[in-house]
């Protein structure tokens, strides 16, 4: 188990491109989980500002991780919207435990309270978050493996 390391911060696109590289570099972790088809946007709010990132998953790869503009999250299958503190707490938990535990899993964070909400224009798009949940969780658990400078 690692000690908590907050030097990996969630409020930069570089964090997500590093996660994508981590996924794409380890197909052996994703192959047993099966192929994925989902485009998810993340909204990470801090004060009046927000970082918006789009993640495109195809097969067993994250093909795209890039910043998007205000409102573009609605064009994704679904989006996760939360305060930077909630996002950072998730990453800190992952880095402390090697994977998200307890209420810090993606599903749990979107189920209790308003820390991170799962949203989308189409209920079927939102349901993709559930259809591919283990792969998405494994993707975020990759934060435990990133160097502290990510």
């Amino acid at each position: 188990m690692n000690t908590a390391d907050t030097s990996v911060t969630v409020d930069r696109v570089a964090f997500f491109t590093a996660l994508a590289a981590e996924m794409n570099g380890h197909p052996e972790r994703y192959e047993p989980l099966g192929d994925v088809d989902v485009e998810i946007a993340l909204v990470i709010r801090e004060g009046g500002d927000a970082l918006r990132v789009r993640l495109l998953f195809q097969g067993i790869r994250c093909e795209h991780a890039a910043e998007i503009g205000d409102g573009d999250e609605f064009t994704a299958d679904c989006f996760l919207d939360g305060d930077v503190g909630a996002w950072q707490a998730m990453v800190d938990n992952i880095r402390a435990n090697g994977r998200a535990e307890g209420e810090y899993t993606l599903n749990s964070l979107t189920l209790v309270g308003d820390r991170i909400a799962i949203k989308g224009e189409d209920p079927l798009g939102v349901d993709r978050f559930f259809r591919f949940n283990q792969t998405l969780q494994t993707f975020f658990d990759g934060a435990a493996l990133l160097p502290a400078t990510s």
Binding site: D37, T105, N107, G113
Partner: protein, 364 residues
């Protein structure tokens, strides 16, 4: 596309014992000879081979046999007794994609759950997880029994829908397996099963039509269970249950996705179907509420949400109420997506639940 093929002259007219031979399959059966689907990066999918006439699914197929759709079917092929002969009876526009997804994302309850990480739990938590698993083990197989009841009545031209339902049956077998295994794995075991639980199952199984059955099972029942799995993942005492509920959640969400677009397809092609579905859901919602609030399931979940019996009242029950609101809001949104607004029709007490009756959104 019918293409001319070589005549293959000179082939024998009888076999070695004098039986006449028919070389029609070689000499120009009506087919799309020469059509060559191209595999994609993942291999050759059902979407890839839905090309030319092979991809066309008739609204009302000409045959009622098990002949493969697109084959040169003998006019004398017998009627297999199918009763679901309209595409709108079973089809969903996402069914090929869902089949491929289901096949790609199969998992093993034996191998893919980290059973070795199961920790000793407090007696109350172990009882609660065992009760939850007992109930889930009881209800999961309904989603296998029901498609099995109807599949042999579905016209074989809708083979992709039947293939997807086969994956659902396998999924539900695995769910029954994994929850039974968890109930037994930590020294707890199977706990209470009550007569009331069977009412929901009987309502689903005895639906008069497949579209009603699908509404009750895919949209209402599996939508409900999907959210129970989400709650299970949240309250999981260890990575064993986390993984178990997450994997089951993925399967369940596929079934819900099929049901949502199947009902939409059915309603778009026959508006009268909507009332048939509404009637089923009027009764189904009533039975589901009785099931969801049964004393075993609801209190077991509340204890798990509270982290034990000590805080069941001040933490467990309030959290459960919040999740029930989210569960019903998700269900109502899926109904809208299916083209079936329940907001003005449902007998669910939306005001009490804090759900806006005009929008279906949870009031803040």
């Amino acid at each position: 596309m019918v293409t001319m093929q070589p005549a293959y002259d000179g082939l024998p007219a009888t076999d070695l014992v004098g039986q006449p031979l028919d070389w029609a399959w070689l000499r120009g059966a009506r087919s799309e000879w020469g059509v060559r689907p191209k595999p994609g990066p993942r291999g050759l999918t059902m979407m890839d081979i839905a090309v030319g006439s092979y991809g066309d699914v008739a609204e009302h197929p000409a045959h009622r046999s098990m002949a493969p759709r697109g084959a040169d079917v003998d006019p004398g092929t017998p009627d297999m007794g199918y009763i679901l002969n309209a595409k709108s009876d079973v089809w969903a526009d996402n069914v090929r994609e869902l089949y491929e997804e289901a096949v790609a994302r199969q998992w093993s309850a034996t191998r893919d759950i980290p059973w070795g990480e199961l920790p000793d739990l407090g007696d109350d938590l172990e009882h609660a997880i065992c009760q939850l698993c007992t109930t889930l083990s009881e209800v999961e197989m309904i989603a296998a029994d029901l498609p099995a009841k109807w599949m042999w009545r579905m016209n074989h031209d809708f083979l992709e829908a039947k293939m997807f339902l086969c994956t659902q049956i396998m999924d539900e077998a695995r769910h029954t397996e994994v929850f039974r295994k968890r109930a037994l794995a930590n020294g707890g075991g199977l706990l209470k099963s009550r007569a009331g639980d069977e009412s929901l199952l009987r309502t689903i199984l005895q639906a008069k039509t497949y579209v009603q059955a699908s509404a009750l099972m895919h949209l209402l029942g599996e939508g409900f269970i999907l959210d129970i799995f989400r709650q299970g993942e949240l309250i999981a005492p260890s990575e064993v249950e986390k993984r178990m509920f997450r994997m089951a959640m993925q399967d369940e969400a596929r079934h819900v996705a099929y049901g949502t677009l199947h009902l939409r397809y059915a309603i778009e092609h026959d508006a009268d179907t909507a009332e048939e579905i509404h009637e089923a859901l009027d009764h189904g919602e009533e039975v589901l509420v009785a099931f969801g609030t049964n004393q075993d399931l609801s209190t077991a979940i509340a204890v798990l949400l509270a982290g034990g019996v000590e805080h069941v009242e001040d933490k467990g029950f309030p959290m459960q109420a919040e999740m029930t609101r989210k569960l019903l809001a998700s269900y109502l949104a899926r109904c809208e997506r299916a083209g079936l607004s329940r907001l003005s029709r449902t007998k669910l007490d939306l005001d009490l639940l804090g759900i806006d009756r005009d929008t279906g959104v949870i009031r803040s």
